[in-house]
């Protein structure tokens, strides 16, 4: 078992509202009223059916309660369990996926206020990401400005599959707001399901959908690089959460190859995509979809080419590993220190501010 050093930071945990009605006190009157008289359904996404094996580790289940919906359990299982100094909450509830821009924005505001009141105010170790509507970047920017005043919100959260490829200029107002506020933008596994999640249509199985998250991150990375997001926003950090990491070296080899031959299509990309990504993109470590053999893991890290890329995460309550094995075996201690402590602190400058 690779032990965590003191001060470790868990960069991906998933709280959930116990039900949509838990949001009612936080919704503006118009939306609260509509939720009632329209009989609004639960907004869980098809990406994480609550009873699917991946959605919750067996020993983290709590009867029929929605996984991640009890703050005491999350704090006990994950924060106390792993002894982390901070835990960053990425709520995956499907409110941002509502098609109406206004409704999605209204429910995002409620979720953010709910996170603050029900979670952040409960435990000083908790931090959170700001939920925003992915298809309404101007409204997203407003919400980023509103929430950024609370220093416990440490990044902006978007699904990796939104309505347009993430690099497209239509999305830039959200990135501009994040950069102004000094917040990284995290793309998390998941989709608004505006398009089939694979390049070849809708899959049959949840397992296939989940496998396809890795390819979605690959094309998202291509888009962010090709569209020049890293040149346009020089102070923006991008986090890929629950993305998997083993695919990264091969993807960068391929992306850099096409950039070398087709640079004239994207002349603003003035250096190798490999350099850009190593400097500007960070990846949460679970799921660590690599072999278990330490030799293979060492080779993978060699191919990744940087010790700065990975951020420790349990992906609580998702079932990615058993026991305390959130880190691969055989990592050298200095690399563990980087992944668990140093890289998160440099990715999330607000964490250095300590207890608010």
């Amino acid at each position: 078992m690779t032990a965590l050093p003191p001060g470790a930071i868990d960069c991906d945990l998933h709280p959930a509202p116990p039900s949509v009605s838990a949001l009612l006190p936080y919704l503006e009157p118009h939306w609260a009223d509509a939720a009632g008289h329209r009989g609004l359904h639960e907004l869980e996404t098809i990406a994480w059916p609550p009873n699917a094996p991946l959605s919750c580790r067996p020993d983290w289940r709590d009867g029929d309660r929605r996984p991640g919906s009890d703050p005491e359990r999350l704090i006990g299982d994950a924060v106390e369990g792993f002894g982390t100094r901070y835990a960053i909450l990425n709520c995956l509830y499907g409110a941002p996926m509502l098609y109406s821009e206004d409704m999605a924005a209204g429910f995002c505001r409620a979720l953010n206020d709910w996170l603050r009141a029900e979670w952040l105010d409960r435990d000083p170790r908790l931090r959170a990401s700001i939920l925003v509507p992915p298809h309404a970047p101007e409204l997203a920017a407003e919400e980023i400005e509103r929430m950024a005043e609370d220093r416990r919100f440490v990044q902006v959260l978007l699904p990796v599959m939104g309505e347009t490829p993430p690099g497209r200029r239509v999305n830039w107002p959200a990135y501009a707001a994040a950069e102004r506020a000094g917040l990284p933008v995290a793309f998390h596994a998941g989709s608004a399901y505006r398009h089939p999640p694979t390049p070849v249509g809708w899959p049959s199985y949840l397992a296939e959908d989940y496998a396809a998250q890795a390819t979605a991150f690959q094309s998202a990375l291509t888009s962010l690089v090709a569209e020049g997001v890293f040149q346009k926003f020089p102070d923006l950090t991008v986090v890929f959460a629950e993305s998997g990491v083993a695919w990264l070296p091969a993807h960068l080899w391929r992306l850099a190859k096409y950039w070398r031959g087709l640079r004239m299509e994207m002349p603003w990309v003035d250096r190798s995509p490999e350099e850009i990504v190593r400097e500007r993109v960070r990846f949460t470590i679970q799921p660590f979809d690599a072999p278990e053999e330490p030799d293979a893991v060492a080779r993978l890290f060699d191919h990744l080419g940087s010790d700065d890329l990975l951020l420790f995460a349990t992906d609580y309550p998702h079932w990615q590993f058993d026991g305390m094995g959130a880190l691969p075996e055989g990592l050298p201690a200095d690399l563990v220190q980087r992944i668990a402590v140093d890289n998160p602190l440099s990715t999330y400058p607000r964490l250095e501010e300590g207890e608010p």
Binding site: R260, G261, R263, M264, P267, W268
Partner: protein
Amino acid sequence: MTRHVVAPVSEFPPGTRRCVVLEGRRIALFNVGGRYFGLLDRCPHQGGPLSEGVLTGLVEAGTPGDYSFSRPGEILRCPWHGWEFDLATGRSRFDPRRHRTRAFRVTAEPAGDLRAETVPVRVEEDHVVVET
């Protein structure tokens, strides 16, 4: 340094190119608007024949969407994988330090300074000379 007479200027007009073998090396020569350029005819990547590449300009952008186009005709794209080379230096656009092909100095010179070799040198006109 060896100087090679490769053609009378009149036979190598602007907008044309040719490929010569000098000391066993293939060299691609270009006349771009009266300026001569020479590159080793072998892309450092996979060996593509640079003499068959298209001449284009330098596309740059300080920020996304803000295109500029300069030095028309002075950037060569490899006919295979599209790597761009600066005709003047042989350096690749994407990584000038690590990826480059050799550039040769090519000039037009009066015949009076040249010795006749296999290309007949006529005294009444200038000749294109490659230095290797």
